[in-house]
């Protein structure tokens, strides 16, 4: 169960079960099948509904808007998530506006898949996690793929509702095995939030909130600390990043008294700072330390492996933060 294949299967299921679904993006048809091979095989079976485009992200987004307004279900692949900036006008001034500004007379359920994230040496413009710029956009859902969430569930959900979606796929997830039932950790689900810990919540001394690729790194650290040092923390992996389902976070952090957030995006004005603001309001006086926000350095992402490793959030930064928070 490799994530890229599961995702491809989810897209295939979408095309098979819903005639309104149209896949649109650059280089997504066979034999190439997309820069990350997620759509391989689909254009052969659905030639009119899997459409390769020129290098025109603005039009990919705009065409998606029109398709969605006309009752179709576009799923756009933005080859590298970095290029989502070229769709920003469509997402902010068009797609997320229509339903609200037309007072519900139209809906625009476009879905954007954004292969994001670094650690592959692609450098400053092909490695970013730009979702922070979309958090808080009214009437937009930002959803993160992870190894703990079946992409089929995600796409079934997207196709059953009318809010536009930015679906963030960290590139390093593609070759990894799904971890829907990870060994060694107790796994429970509350809505779309997955809870992982080695011991019951009462015995945990911190809550770790992480999504996407970082969630997998954090899970490994949570397990290692539990086994090797009997440091017990609870990991929460949400799929919905914005709007957030705050309840699981609030309940967990209230119980553990300590909260760490982890994201690969750059520090400042970020997901973690919003989590921190909300939890400070809800749990004022109930946490034994300030919320700890782990994010990447506020600079460009270097191509050099060594420099990239220092700049981006990875296991070392996450482990340091968890150890501190669990005290």
């Amino acid at each position: 169960m490799i994530f890229a294949k599961e995702l491809g299967a989810a897209l295939r299921e979408s095309l098979e079960t819903d005639e309104r679904v149209v896949l649109i993006g650059e280089d997504i048809i066979d034999p190439y099948g997309g820069a990350f091979k997620v759509t391989r095989g689909l254009s052969t079976d659905f030639p009119s509904r899997v459409r390769t485009t020129p290098i025109s992200e603005g039009a990919i987004a705009g065409f998606s808007a029109g398709l969605a307004l006309a009752g179709m279900r576009p799923i756009a692949e933005v080859m590298f998530g970095d290029f989502i900036t070229l769709c920003f006008d469509q997402i902010v001034n068009h797609i997320t506006k229509y339903e609200a500004m037309y007072n519900g007379k139209a809906t625009c359920p476009a879905v954007f898949r954004v292969p994001s994230g670094g650690h592959r040496g692609y450098g400053p413009t092909h490695s970013q996690s730009l979702e922070k710029h979309f958090f808080g956009v009214p009437h937009l859902r930002v959803v993160a793929a992870s190894l703990f969430h079946d992409p089929r569930d995600a796409f079934r959900d997207f196709l059953s509702q009318n809010t536009p979606v930015l679906y963030v796929e960290h590139k390093l997830l593609y070759p990894q095995h799904m971890r829907l039932a990870p060994n060694g950790l107790i796994t429970t689900r509350e809505g779309s939030t997955v809870r992982l810990s080695a011991v019951p919540r009462e015995d945990c001394t911190a809550t770790v909130l992480a999504y996407g690729y970082q969630a997998g790194l954090a899970a490994d650290i949570v397990e290692k600390l539990a086994v090797e040092e009997e440091i017990f923390v609870e990991l929460l992996v949400p799929a919905e990043l914005s709007p957030m389902d705050w309840a699981p976070v609030e309940v967990s952090a209230k119980a553990t008294g300590s909260l760490v957030t982890v994201e690969e995006g750059t520090a400042g004005w970020s997901w973690g700072t919003e989590v921190s603001a909300v939890m400070s309001e809800r749990l004022f006086g109930l946490l034994r330390r300030p919320v700890s926000v782990v994010a990447s350095e506020k600079t460009v992402i270097p191509s050099s492996r060594a420099k990239e490793g220092r700049m981006l959030v990875g296991s070392p930064q996450i482990e340091t933060a968890i150890r501190e928070a669990a005290k």
């Binding site: 039009a59 705009g62 398709l67 068009h94």
Partner: protein, 377 residues
């Protein structure tokens, strides 16, 4: 279930003498309801809980008992009376449509000065022939995407003057409950957005949906010359041509992009910009509704039969400011263009008594709409 095409563009034969004094006949309640229903398919003008209050105010506003009587059901059914006035004549119908748009826009400008309206508006005064001449050839199932200067297109397509007036007044009964305002309107087969450029790929996406669904209807987008500066336009031209989409692009070149003349904005040839993508272009320099209409008819037909994108470039002129009080154009230039404004051009074909009767009926209808809209909660 069906939406009504703009009635003034396809008036039903009637026995009324078009030249007769324009007394709007109080519609039969049932007929009015039919009219309201068909027009309001997606253009609901709800009266809801405020209905009673509205009606009592109505009675105070309208001296005519008949008007008050029909007002209940006739919300949004203004065309019912309109049809009787322009009975049987396409040319009178086109004139009434343009005259109505003109006076609607002028009325808005007056309401702004009065302080009744919030925000801004972009009048299409001088360009009414484009809306009337193109939309005359569209039919149920077609889709129009318009821009910030959308009132004329909206009125020509839906006839829902009360819904639009209420919208611009910010009333709950407005076509988008006062949220969209002047530039962001939605009705069956009609949408507009105030951000330039982005509506082009959106309209093309609607055309793609039509193609994938196997519909025989078309998507139409209105853009201005200023929008030629936006990159999204060219991405769209390329893909619309590659994918052979049933899209009609109507470029209204009104010579001025806000305060900037076309000469400072647009290099080379407008026509060649489209032709470079292999798109057939029809170009007309005119404010004559019949001339524009004949070009539009040909192109609409071509889009329908070939399923491919075509472009209509209309060189026209905006007679008023861009939005409000922001006109620095040479007065002589504007004055000269008033001599060839669409109503004056088209009037030359009509008997004076006919157009005067229409003018009078438009005034009366508009006054009623403004009064109703003012009285809405």
């Amino acid at each position: 279930m069906t939406i009504t095409l703009p009635n003034f563009l396809s008036p039903e034969p009637e026995k009324e003498n078009p030249a007769a004094p324009a007394i709007p006949l109080p519609a039969e309640p049932e007929a009015a309801i039919t009219g309201a229903t068909t027009l309001s398919k997606a253009v609901t003008v709800p009266l809801g809980e405020g209905e009673a209050a509205t009606l009592s105010q109505e009675a105070a506003v309208n001296e005519s008992e008949a008007a008050a009587e029909s007002a209940v059901a006739a919300e949004g059914a203004a065309w019912v009376t309109r049809q009787t006035v322009v009975a049987g004549s396409r040319e009178l119908g086109l004139y009434r449509g343009m005259r109505f748009i003109r006076r609607f826009e002028e009325t808005l400008l007056g309401l702004f000065e009065e302080g009744i309206l919030n925000g801004t508006t972009h009048a299409c005064i001088g360009q009414e022939a484009d809306a009337a001449g193109v939309i005359e050839h569209l039919r149920e199932g077609d889709h129009i995407f318009s821009n910030h200067r959308c009132h004329g297109h909206y009125l020509a397509w839906t006839g829902d003057a009360l819904g639009l007036m209420a919208e611009i007044m910010g009333k709950e009964a407005g076509v988008c409950a006062g949220i969209g305002g002047s530039q962001h309107i939605c009705a069956e087969g009609f949408m507009s957005n105030g951000v330039q450029g982005g509506i082009l790929p959106t309209a093309a996406g609607i055309a793609l949906a039509k193609k994938l669904k196997g519909e025989d209807t078309i998507s139409v987008v209105f853009m201005g010359d200023g929008t030629l500066g936006e990159g999204a336009v060219y991405e769209t031209l390329n893909m619309a041509s590659l994918w052979e989409l049933p899209l009609l692009i109507v470029l209204e070149d009104n010579e001025w992009a806000q305060s900037t003349p076309v000469a400072l904005n647009t290099a080379g040839s407008m026509r060649a910009r489209f032709e470079a993508f292999g798109l057939p272009v029809s170009e007309v320099e005119s404010t004559d509704v019949l001339e524009i209409s004949s070009h539009a008819e040909e192109l609409v037909e071509a889009v329908r039969t070939t399923g491919k994108t075509h472009v209509l470039v209309i060189h026209t002129y905006r007679l008023c400011h861009h939005s409000k009080s922001d006109d620095h154009r040479p007065e002589e230039e504007v004055a000269l263009r008033w001599q060839t404004e669409p109503l004056a051009v088209h009037r030359q074909r009509l008997a004076e008594a006919d157009w005067q009767a229409i003018d009078a009926s438009v005034e009366e209808e508009l006054a009623g709409i403004v009064a109703k809209a003012r009285a809405l909660p």
